[in-house]
């Protein structure tokens, strides 16, 4: 099996989100970007599959910001190849439909028969990448997957619904999976190992052209305050005492 893991950078929402002057998008140069956490889960799931079934693993990311560290870290964790997609316009960010448009050819060239990516990302305004890709490639697929096993010419995927209900699905290869969670938490790659990989291995690059995006954002802004919480002030003891009082009022 040849697995491709597609990753993307997303705004780190714990850091300040700076809006562009026209108020329609984030000022990508002024915000912190990080690997989509669900893509990290997809990478871990792929590494587990590689370990259990000897798959070859290629990690792919479009250069919508500085993706080098994300890709080298994936190599340090055990990916065999890392492919960086470069081209005009990528630095401003691309929508998932555009990303899928780019990836269809790339995945054919990589020769992958399974593509794993995060179930969603925090900026998926035009829908999720896994399903854009599944439709574009015409492959079998499942999203919200929290466990994958190789079974000959198929993958067995566990899909999650609400309330802890799951479905076991047999997906014939080639297949696309939107990964919610890996059976094991993402492994850690020591910085020293990442540094060493940077010296001994290199990223492959490929020039790509993104198709036009189809989404028109009119404005982007923080949610309007809808009353919101009564904020408790003071030092930690005072705040705790006030919350204890609130709890007492609730009859607790």
């Amino acid at each position: 099996m040849r697995i491709a893991v597609v990753m993307k950078l997303v705004p780190d929402v714990v850091e300040e989100l700076v809006l562009s002057e026209d108020g329609k998008r984030l000022e990508r140069g002024d915000i912190a970007l990080k690997a989509n956490e669900f893509d990290e889960q997809a990478l871990e799931q792929a590494l587990l599959l590689k370990e259990s079934s000897g798959a070859e693993l290629t990690v792919i990311a479009a250069e919508t910001g500085d993706v080098d560290e994300m890709l080298y870290t994936a190599l340090a964790k055990g990916a065999d190849r890392a492919l960086k997609l470069v081209g005009d316009g990528l630095q401003d960010g691309i929508w998932n439909a555009q990303y899928a448009g780019i990836l269809v050819d790339v995945i054919a060239d990589v020769g992958a028969d399974a593509v794993l990516t995060g179930v969603q990302a925090n900026d998926d305004l035009d829908g999720q990448l896994a399903t854009w890709l599944a439709a574009g490639l015409g492959w079998s697929f499942a999203t919200v997957v929290s466990g994958v096993e190789a079974a000959g010419e198929s993958l067995i995927a566990k899909k999650e619904f609400a309330g802890g209900l799951t479905a076991n699905l047999r997906l014939p290869l080639p297949a696309v999976l939107g990964i919610q969670a890996s059976p094991e938490p993402p492994r850690y790659a020591p910085i020293s190992r990442v540094r060493q990989i940077m010296k001994t291995q290199s990223l492959e690059e490929r020039e790509v052209t993104a198709p036009a995006g189809s989404i028109t954002v009119l404005s982007l802004r923080p949610p309007e305050k809808t009353g919101g919480a009564e904020m408790i002030e003071g030092d930690v003891q005072a705040k705790a005492a006030r919350i204890a009082e609130v709890l007492a009022q609730q009859g607790i």
Binding site: F161, A162, Q180, G228, I243
Partner: protein, 313 residues
Amino acid sequence: MKKVLAFIDVVDGQPGEIGYELLDFARQAAPEAELVAVGAGPQAALEGLAGADRALWTVADGYRPDLVGEVLTAAIVAEQPDLVLVGSTAVGMDAGTYAAAKSGYASIAYVRSLEPLDGSLAAQSVILGGKMVARVAVPDRTVLQVLAGAGSAERGRVPGRPAQVGTLAEPAAKASFEGFGRPEAQDVDITRHDVLVSVGRGIGDASNIELAEELAEALGGVVSSSRPVVDAGWLPKARQVGKSGNKVKPKVYLALGISGAPEHLEGMRDAACIIAVNTDPAAPIFEVAHYGVVDDVLDFIPALTESLRVRQG
């Protein structure tokens, strides 16, 4: 707007609440449009969908992602609706974008409301973990993935079947279904407790869960959590609150180090009293909380436990 399709989630033979919510959402957004319910499942799942003018139904059992995607695609191709509504759920995530891509429709996700825009519509989408709302122009022929709670299931559920039910042949599916897995019974059922001390990634480490256990004990409640805490293996799955966990409605919900992503809010926003503690004053959890504290949970939790013990003597 002439025609709206609403995709009805069916899992394990049961229609989800979201289907009724979408029917209501569609009526509110486009009262004059013909409303067609589309889905795949047993015939019995059509009960309660009389609010739709028509249904287009595929009789199918089990669950296959490409089957729901292909059913919705076929319905779109046959009906050429102006707007397609899909739930932002585990089923909608298989069907929505896939059908948009296959039928050449536009796709907009995480929609919580629609508003008029120059004779057309704009969607408000909640993105970036709930920290931003994007207003997006809705082109004619769009699939919208609508968030849970955007419509009212109570209003949308109308006894009986739609006046007209058409059948859609079962499309070929590549995936095969090998059975459902059901959650194991657990010692603690978080849906039955009045007080939930819920911890998120902000709790930092497995060893800190103990602090929450002590607080829960002082309050006569139990510990629950957001998804990352479960994925990290710090608490069992049965303790998870949210979209892919449990829906809870306790008297008091303490959200400790939980950011308030839409998938978490879906499971707890109806709690009677929500108290949130977070180091980030801009955390979306404060939008739904009744009381908010900006502080480090590792300082706050022991302080609250101590305060309660003092009060209790």
